[in-house]
Structure formats: structure tokens, C-alpha cells
């Protein structure tokens, strides 16, 4: 029974993973990823890691992938063709793929396959239960846990900051103001003005006697490339 379930879910996981990269339609790609994640959750269930399985479904299939589906169904759905990629980009992707394959092959051959002929670790009662995982997260792995949550927090704050600028560009007053970030970060890494092709330029206020309007400032600062 367990073997049948294992092979069913393993085939599901591999099919889903292949589907993610093989399907041309981004919406189907995302759905394949959902199928893959749910298959992984079932594999976790077979390992008696009930909490991890539930977390996998709730967090990945339920929250992260929902966002993907949301975005793709709004803007995606078109057939994404590959001929826009330049030759250098293709070569680089092949090189990175080969490197990743080598790393994974070393890891799998080095450790994972050793367990093939053994019985595996014995099952202890309580293993993988929410209580045990909670204890581990709040004692042994407290620092990584907190760092990860802090990282997610930063990502959330960053997303809100970006999304708040409905107009896309800063006002001239904001462009003129100096902040600590202006000195701490490299160019072309910060503002929305840069993201849409402008440079971070400081101009006099429109009412202060100069004839340069904010619109002109943006047109002036078209990237030379």
C-alpha cells in the first residue's frame, strides 16, 4: 500500500516538475507547480511528517501559489515564445543548469544513495508532530527561524513600499530630497524613476524660477543605451 502510494505521488511530483518547465502557457505552468507541491505534501505524509505536509499545502499551495495564479491569470495566459532570448543568455542558462546538475549529482551520489539498502531511520513516537517541531524551532533553531521571519518581513515591507506608489514616479520634491540611501547604494538600484528608464536627477522646484518641468526631466534622462 505504502509502495503504491509512494510511486503514485513520486510520479505526480516528477510530472508536475517537468510540466513547470515544459509547458508553454504560464498558467498551466503554475498549475503544474501546484500539482508538484501537493504531491510533495503527500510524500511528506508517507514519511509521517504530518505537520510538514500540512504546512507545505497551506503555505505553498495555499498562499504562495495563489499569488502566482492571481498574477498569471491577470497578466499571463499568452504563449510565451523563446526566440527573444539572446544567444549569450541561452549559453549562460545551459552553463548554470549544468553547474546545478553537477552540484545535485554530487550531493545525491555522496549521501542520498547510501540509504537505499538500509531500513532507514527508525520511527519514534511523536516524531514530526507539531509539538516536537515547535520545540526545535524555538530552541535549537531559534536564530535561523527568526532570521527567516525577519527576511520575510523585509520583503513584505518592500512590497508595500513599492505598491504604494500608484503614480509610479516620485514628485519633484521627493526627487530633490537627499536621503541616506543616495550615498549608500549603487546607481540604478533604487527608485521607481530609475526603473522606468530615468536617472535620479535633482531639479529645481517647478515654481522656483527654473523652466524645467518634471516631465522634461524624465525625458531628458532617457538612458543613452
Amino acid at each position: 500500500m505504502a509502495e503504491v502510494l509512494f510511486f503514485l505521488t513520486a510520479i505526480g511530483a516528477i510530472t508536475g516538475a517537468v510540466g513547470v518547465i515544459a509547458l508553454r502557457n504560464p498558467f498551466y505552468s503554475v498549475l503544474a507547480l501546484v500539482a508538484h507541491l501537493i504531491s510533495l505534501a503527500l510524500l511528506f505524509l508517507l514519511l509521517r511528517a504530518e505537520f510538514v505536509a500540512a504546512a507545505q499545502v497551506i503555505v505553498y499551495a495555499g498562499a504562495v501559489m495563489v499569488l502566482y495564479v492571481f498574477v498569471v491569470s491577470y497578466v499571463g495566459g499568452t504563449q510565451e515564445s523563446g526566440h527573444r532570448l539572446t544567444k549569450g543568455f541561452k549559453l549562460a542558462s545551459v552553463a548554470f543548469g549544468a553547474a546545478l546538475f553537477a552540484v545535485l549529482a554530487i550531493a545525491i551520489l555522496g549521501s542520498g544513495l547510501q540509504a537505499l539498502d538500509t531500513e532507514g531511520a527508525p520511527y519514534q513516537a511523536g516524531f514530526g508532530s507539531p509539538r516536537e517541531i515547535g520545540k526545535l524551532l524555538l530552541t535549537d533553531f531559534l536564530l535561523p527561524f527568526e532570521v527567516a521571519s525577519f527576511l520575510l518581513h523585509i520583503a513584505a515591507v518592500g512590497a508595500v513600499t513599492l505598491a504604494r506608489r500608484r503614480g509610479g514616479l516620485e514628485t519633484q520634491g521627493e526627487l530633490n530630497a537627499y536621503t541616506a540611501l543616495d550615498f549608500a547604494r549603487p546607481a540604478i538600484t533604487g527608485t521607481m524613476a530609475e526603473a522606468v528608464g530615468g536617472r535620479h536627477q535633482r531639479m529645481p522646484e517647478p515654481g522656483a524660477g527654473a523652466d524645467a518641468s518634471p516631465a522634461a526631466a524624465i525625458v531628458d534622462s532617457e538612458p543613452s543605451a
Binding site: 495555499g62 499569488l67 495564479v69
Partner: protein
């Protein structure tokens, strides 16, 4: 019993497990026609009219007529729809709704045919997380249904569903954390046992209120039924559905209503326990649970007849700016009280 099974306490023989699955499904399935006719009758009374009273005595056979009508309708789908997804989406909705029933405890362990049988499908160590996982997958039933219909109204409905379910799932989950911390367990049967002295809706009243409100949003019931707001987007995600596929969506929605009511009864209202030290024999337990559940089901209908639908921005700001901070505060205060009194 083999030693492997003894370790994980799967003590029930396989035929009992199949029997339980069938019985639980059949009972909840048979509740749905009663629920539907009850809703229509009650809505009628709330609005100063009789409600359905033509088919059968007091109109009680109305759901039967409804089902015959829906089942004999033509299977139709628009030209612009995506066929396999259009057919799959209602199946996902029903599967996840029924799947969530598996962990609801209807009673304590009983002696049936000489074997110990727990009156629940499964007693998993993750408890409510199982229901949330099912709810997470149920989202795809609504989302794919709306997307594959190939119509604007359906698409808008499924987009609303996506935003709404995500927003309120967080508060719903956080509202239960207080209970889990108090009971020191996630297993639903043990949560019920932990309520011997006092039902959790007294110490966790705020948590109960948050869970109640979030449940209305999670089941797409009024006043949070923007997903299928008929005045704005026709029928929302199931605009293009008809016949048995539409019935499946309807069925899933009512089952979900039953599931959240059962969860509320289990987690906040003592499950099969009775107050004042009344201790009835074990076979009464399921009836106690179902009796308490019917109170919440009637409450769902009552609210639908009473409150107007929220606007979309109200829905979002209520979920994120009021419900979520309150749920977090509830968790925090519960944790502090538990640590102080420990």
C-alpha cells in the same frame, strides 16, 4: 496487530475505517437537503413571506424537486471555456469540502461490534491544520472554475475569491492559536477533552468572534458573498455553470458551512460535552454535536437575512486592519496569560 501499527496507534480494522467514512459522508450528505429547504423557509419567514410550500407537505420535498430539475438539465459550457478545467473545478471543490469532514470528532471512542471505534474519521496530530490545508486546495476549485469559464463575470468572481480567501484565512488560523495554546494540543478530540471544565468560548471569546466572522468570509456567505454577488457580477465564479456541475458547487458551499460550524462546535463549544455535569451514554454524542451545529447553521442563515453585503474595500480593510490585528492581539494576550499563570 503488527508492531508498526501499534506505534502509530492505528488501532481500528480497515473495514471499520471504510464504514466510518461512508457513514459520516452519508449523514452529512443527507443534511444538505434539510439545510437547503430550511434556509429557504427561514429566509422566507425573515422577509415576511411563506417560503417554498408547494412540493410535498409544508414544501419539505422542495430540495427533491430542485435536485431532479438540476440533474436533468443539459450540460452546457461556453465556447471560450477550457474543457477539462471546467469539468475538474467543481470536483476539487466537492473533494476538499468532503475531505475536511474526515477529522471532525462526533463523539468519543465507543465499543461497537466488540472493537473500539472513535466516532470520527481520523484523529490526526495536526487537527485544524488539516482543515486549513483542505481550504487552501478548495481555493483552486473556485479559481479554476472562474478562470476556465472564459467569461468576464466568472473571472472577476474568482479574482475576488482569491483575495478574500487569502485575507481571511490568516485571521481564521490565528483565532484558533489561542485555543491550541490553552489546550496544549492540536488534536481535535483532545481539545474537546480539555474543555471538560469550561467550554473555550468563555476564555477565548475574542478568538471565537474572530473565527466566526472569518468563517463567514471563508465560506463565501453573506455578508461576505462578494465572490458571487448577484447584483454586480451575475453569479461570480459559477456564472457559466449549470446542471450537476452547478449543484456540485452548491453542495460544496453547504458542506463547507457544515464543516466550519462543526469546527466551531468542536473547538469553542465543547464538542460532544454537555454542561452542568450531564453525562449521557456514548451513542448520544453525535446527536449533541449535530444539535449544537444546527444552531450555527441557523445563525448563518439568520445573518444572511439580516446584514447587507459589504463593499469590496470594506471587506479588505476589515480583514486586514481590524480582524488580523485583533487575532494577533488575542494570541499575544493568551500567551502572556498562560505564561504568567503557569
Amino acid at each position: 496487530m503488527s508492531p508498526q501499527l501499534a506505534v502509530v496507534q492505528y488501532y481500528e480494522p480497515w473495514w471499520i475505517q471504510i464504514l466510518k467514512a461512508v457513514v459520516i459522508f452519508a449523514i452529512i450528505l443527507q443534511l444538505q437537503p434539510i439545510l437547503i429547504v430550511g434556509e429557504r423557509k427561514l429566509l422566507g419567514r425573515f422577509q415576511g413571506r411563506y417560503g417554498p410550500n408547494r412540493v410535498g407537505p409544508y414544501g419539505l420535498a422542495t430540495p427533491l424537486a430542485d435536485i431532479i430539475k438540476l440533474a436533468t438539465k443539459e450540460q452546457f459550457r461556453p465556447d471560450t471555456s477550457i474543457g477539462w478545467m471546467f469539468a475538474l473545478a467543481p470536483v476539487i471543490s466537492v473533494l476538499t469540502a468532503v475531505g475536511a469532514l474526515a477529522i471532525i470528532p462526533f463523539g468519543d471512542t465507543q465499543d461497537i461490534f466488540g472493537t473500539d471505534v472513535g466516532l470520527y474519521g481520523l484523529d490526526v496530530s495536526i487537527g485544524p491544520l488539516f482543515v486549513f490545508a483542505m481550504g487552501a486546495v478548495a481555493f483552486y476549485g473556485i479559481m479554476l472554475g472562474g478562470f476556465s469559464s472564459g467569461s468576464k463575470y466568472s473571472f472577476l468572481g474568482s479574482m475576488r475569491a482569491a483575495a478574500q480567501l487569502i485575507s481571511y484565512e490568516v485571521s481564521q488560523g490565528l483565532a484558533l492559536v489561542g485555543v491550541v495554546m490553552t489546550a496544549q494540543t492540536l488534536s481535535l478530540t483532545e481539545i474537546v477533552h480539555a474543555q471538560q471544565g469550561m467550554w473555550y468560548f468563555i476564555p477565548q471569546f475574542l478568538g471565537f468572534l474572530i473565527f466566526l466572522v472569518a468563517s463567514f468570509a471563508e465560506t463565501n456567505r453573506a455578508p461576505f458573498d462578494l465572490v458571487e454577488a448577484d447584483a454586480e457580477i451575475v453569479g461570480g465564479y459559477f456564472t457559466e455553470y449549470g446542471g450537476t456541475r452547478f449543484t456540485s458547487y452548491l453542495f460544496a458551499e453547504y458542506i463547507n458551512m457544515c464543516v466550519v460550524s462543526l469546527i466551531m462546535v468542536t473547538v469553542f463549544f465543547g464538542g460532544w460535552l454537555l454542561p452542568f455535569g450531564i453525562n449521557p451514554p456514548g451513542w448520544v454524542d453525535p446527536f449533541i454535536v449535530l444539535g449544537k451545529t444546527s444552531f450555527f447553521l441557523i445563525f448563518f442563515i439568520w445573518i444572511r437575512a439580516t446584514l447587507p453585503r459589504l463593499r469590496y474595500d470594506q471587506l479588505m480593510s476589515f480583514g486586514w486592519k481590524i480582524l488580523l490585528p485583533l487575532a494577533t492581539l488575542n494570541t499575544l494576550v493568551t500567551a502572556i496569560i498562560l505564561v504568567v499563570t503557569d
